[in-house]
């Protein structure tokens, strides 16, 4: 969001204020705004604000996407990092893609870094959406929701080959 002085007299000073709501962001981010003026030497100019948005728990990536062909087994890994000094614990609580995916939770660095490894179960062409929920011991972030999307397309058989 931006607010600004629309007209600044010769020799005068004006302001351009940029505001950013950091909800749902995490990690390093840079936001820009393009300023349009009547100055022939500077018709447009970009302004930037940047920040490192701290969260109790970092998720990377935040969503899981499987894109493949029927019968294919793919693996995707989500890394979870503690953003606080207190050791983090994770407990799987809900998973609604049984039969389509399997997952494992590996503690890479005790209480700090975890890797969730999702592997698709080979099957027919299909599309699905689901999630894995993990309970945590951080009261300000009691649950992590990892959303998962899968799209496996039919394999085209070469012309002349019967099925």
């Amino acid at each position: 969001v931006a607010s600004f002085d629309r007209a600044i007299p010769p020799g005068g000073e004006g302001k351009i204020t940029l505001s950013v709501r950091t909800k749902s962001y995490e990690g390093a981010h840079r936001w820009s705004a393009e300023v349009h003026t009547n100055d022939p030497k500077m018709k447009t100019i970009d302004l930037y604000v940047k920040a490192f948005v701290k969260v109790p728990i970092y998720l990377s990536p935040r969503y899981v996407n499987f894109n493949g062909r029927e019968g294919q087994s793919l693996t995707r890994v989500v890394e979870i990092r503690a953003g606080r000094d207190e050791p983090l614990t994770l407990t799987p609580s809900q998973f609604n893609l049984e039969g389509k995916l399997t997952y494992t939770v590996d503690e890479i660095e005790k209480g700090r870094i975890f890797k969730i490894r999702f592997t698709s179960i080979p099957g027919a062409p299909q599309t699905y959406h689901g999630f894995l929920n993990l309970k945590t011991n951080y009261p300000e972030k009691p649950e992590i929701n990892i959303r998962i999307r899968g799209r496996f397309v039919k394999v085209k058989k070469p012309a002349g080959e019967s099925s």
């Binding site: 007299p9 005068g12 000073e13 351009i16 204020t17 950091t22 009547n38 701290k54």
Partner: protein
């Protein structure tokens, strides 16, 4: 138009906070400087 800065670094901020920064714009020309639009990217 003269800007004292084009970028501002808030460093570490807690998720959920609204961050706000004001850029100073100087008009060192002879005509009124008009800011027509500021389009957040």
């Amino acid at each position: 138009m003269v800007l004292k800065e084009r970028e501002f670094d808030f460093k570490d901020v807690k998720e959920g906070k609204i961050i706000r920064h004001t850029f100073q714009v100087l008009n060192q020309g002879d005509e009124t400087l008009e800011i027509e639009k500021v389009a957040p990217g």
